[in-house]
């Protein structure tokens, strides 16, 4: 019982972090209409980096794939592409490397939707469920009257 699964949490390089930030912004950009920040916001990217410890090698590999697609198509890194070029590269990334793209999207939303600013923009209290909990309406129990009038309908083996 002594051996623990070890996770390779190699830190991201500056370029990898920039690529991640740009991609996160493309997944969830800021919205003035809803008063919501971009997922590429520094605090949210920091949360993604913390949350990704268990899957760091996969994250780095995914970012490397994205970077490779960019260099192959345009001879420059993902961070130096125009918006239009980025849209094309990300479309290819999602088409050809769907699992990697989905993994980054999943990481992004799990950090985005616990950010104070985002929770407030959704009308949520920025707090964990415990210890205060929530109120749930009892609902209309008279709806059960219709079912109460039914006869028993389970099978009796004997």
């Amino acid at each position: 019982m002594t051996k623990t699964e070890e996770f390779d949490a190699t830190p991201l390089s500056v370029d990898e972090t920039r690529t991640l930030s740009i991609l996160a912004d493309m997944i969830i950009p800021a919205s003035d209409e809803y008063g919501a920040p971009s997922a590429g916001d520094a605090a949210i990217v920091e949360a993604i980096l913390t949350d990704s410890e268990r899957k760091r090698p996969r994250l780095i590999a995914a970012l490397s794939t994205l970077e490779g697609l960019s260099r192959e198509a345009h001879d420059v890194g993902f961070g130096d592409l125009s918006d239009e070029q980025r849209d094309g590269i990300v479309a290819s990334f999602r088409d050809e490397h769907g699992r990697a793209a989905d993994m980054i999207a999943a990481l992004t939303v799990q950090c985005y939707y616990r950010d104070d600013r985002v929770m407030i923009s959704l009308g949520m209290e920025p707090r964990p469920p415990h210890p205060d909990g929530y109120v749930v309406d009892q609902g209309d129990w008279s709806l059960l009257d219709q079912v109460r009038r039914r006869d028993e309908f389970f099978r009796k083996p004997d």
Partner: protein, 534 residues
């Protein structure tokens, strides 16, 4: 290192091990329970932090292969469309379960007689009824008497969980179709009970209940068992059950928290490691007397693995519902539970309402189903779903088939070097038809309730919560592993009490029946204490 033999060794401190330990404690025997995981600390549960939804995918994930904590053992489930879910720690799978706590129906014990499939159980509903009642009392169960889908019983129930907006919305859908629904029997206390505080609607039942309102075995049976003198040793992983020349169990060899090998001798051994862990342990316990694994003269250890194939069907509504607040289960329907000759499958399923989702799961689900895009429209479409999704799952009865099985993987090992289990499982034609039927009927209900969009998955690939049938009970030693009161046909001081001993799976969550069976077996042992090994 070895020590004086104990009277009873229980392996596994989950639902069944806990019930067995508590029940046997009144014999005043020396009872030791070995558990590979640790004691849980509710204040460290995910719902105490902002990242609770993230942790449901990491250290509190339902898959041991994803969780990868020190207490976990890997499972090769690459050859199964349904992946195993479990939890290793005091309380076992009940730490993560939703607390859905229905009983089996009388017909579930007689499937061969009634429908000509599988086997009948060697006991019936009436035999288990008093143990269901005792188990309900120990656990604290919310619900409502009078369900026409079940025989009447006098078990004490706490007030039902709130319907909430989601339950009310779906109840209207059921009523429009004139289909059955009823408040779920749920192991979540709605009033303070047995020293535990009532539910405060944290909504994070599936990652451990920080309130202690959910009836996980660590907060129900274990405090009583420990006070009654049962000794619980945590972070002790059993490698094998040992036997003597006469073929009797003599105890077990385990690795303690330091990784040291320890031999513990016992007069009686009770295995309570779940439908995958139990066959793994028995198949790893090979000896001169039992070259094919312990208690395996029938060749059925590991065979007849049953999950409950689940279908997941959710509707998006215009109005705000409950979101993730409140226990996940509020109501259930057994309109399609019993066999109907007009359908193209035998047996049936329960529709269990699932209340709603947190924001992270909403986003991930919406993206996976193509409802929430990347880019500027993400916000609009997320808000179209957030707090506006509710629906149900269809819990389908799985029939036993020998080719669905647990074996020992030739290469995979856990952190102590103990060979790990491998799952081979295929979805039967009957299950596939039942899943399709469940999706179609649930879609009708959601439409009747006013859903503007419907999402579904069947089977839920990651939803192998219920592990049953791999050491089944029966009267015939050639067709079963344990007898009608849980004792191995081959080894007369070896008992099994978890979901392994199920003959069939029924179409409901198994925990209530697992624990009732454990109490039943414990009573049978106590009744026969003077001649237990005859």
């Amino acid at each position: 290192m070895s020590e004086e033999p104990v009277d009873v060794l229980i392996i596994g401190a989950g639902a069944s091990g806990a019930a067995m330990a508590w029940s046997l404690a009144d014999t005043r025997m020396h009872i030791v329970c070995l558990e590979q995981g640790g004691l849980m600390n509710p204040l460290a549960y995910p719902s105490t932090g902002r990242n609770w939804e993230t942790r449901s995918l990491e250290d509190f994930a339902i898959s041991p292969n994803q969780r990868k904590m020190p207490a976990d053992y890997p499972i090769n489930d690459s050859e199964s469309p349904i992946k195993v879910a479990n939890f290793n720690g005091v309380g076992g799978g009940t730490i993560l379960y939703a607390g859905h706590y229905p009983r089996f129906h009388p017909s579930d014990f007689k499937v061969k007689s009634l429908d000509g499939v599988a086997e009948d159980w060697p006991l019936d509903y009436a035999s288990l009824a008093p143990y269901y009642a005792e188990n309900d009392r120990m656990t604290g169960v919310a619900g409502l008497a009078g369900d026409p889908a079940y025989p009447r019983n006098n078990a004490h129930k706490l007030p039902p969980l709130p319907l909430g907006k989601s339950g009310e919305t779906l109840a209207k859908g059921f009523n429009k179709l004139d289909w059955h629904w009823w408040p779920s029997d749920t192991a979540i206390i709605t009033e303070d009970y047995d020293g535990r505080a009532k539910c405060i609607n944290l909504g994070a039942c599936g990652v451990g209940c920080a309130q202690g309102a959910k009836g996980s075995a660590d907060v129900t049976y274990w405090p009583h068992a420990l006070r009654a003198g049962v000794e619980l040793r945590t972070r002790c992983r059993v490698r094998e059950i040992t036997v003597d020349d006469e073929g009797m169990a003599t105890g077990a060899i385990y690795y303690d928290a330091n990784g040291d090998e320890v031999e513990l001798k016992a007069h009686v051994v009770v295995v309570a490691c779940n439908g995958v862990g139990t066959p793994r342990l028995l198949l790893n316990s090979k000896s001169k007397q039992f070259p094919d694994g312990l208690a395996n003269s029938s060749g059925l250890v590991g065979k007849n693995l049953m999950f409950h194939p689940y279908a997941w069907i959710q509707g998006v509504f215009d109005d705000e519902l409950d979101g993730y607040a409140g226990p996940n289960k509020a109501i259930r329907s057994q309109q399609f539970y019993e066999t109907d000759a007009a359908r193209d499958f035998v047996r049936g399923y329960t529709l269990e309402i699932t209340r709603g989702m947190g924001p992270v799961r909403t986003a991930q689900t919406g993206m996976r189903h193509g409802r929430i895009p990347w880019g500027a429209d993400h916000h609009r479409d997320f808000r179209r779903m957030y707090n506006r999704v509710t629906g149900m799952v269809a819990v389908c009865e799985d029939l036993p088939e020998e080719h669905n099985q647990v074996t020992i993987d030739p290469d995979l090992k856990d952190g102590d070097g103990i060979p790990a289990p491998k799952i081979n499982y295929t979805l039967s034609d009957n299950s596939r038809k039942m899943l399709d039927h469940g999706v179609a009927r649930a879609t009708e209900i959601l439409e009747a309730a006013g859903a503007n969009d419907i999402l579904s998955e069947a089977p839920i690939g990651w939803g192998g919560w219920h592990l049953m049938g791999t050491a089944r009970m029966g009267l015939d030693p050639k067709k079963s592993v344990v007898n009608e009161w849980g004792r191995s046909h081959d080894v007369k001081n070896l008992f099994i009490v978890d979901g392994s001993i199920f003959v069939t799976s029924a179409g409901v969550n198994p925990t209530s029946t697992i624990q009732a069976l454990a109490l039943y077996v414990a009573d049978q042992m106590k009744i026969r204490l003077a001649n237990l090994f005859d």
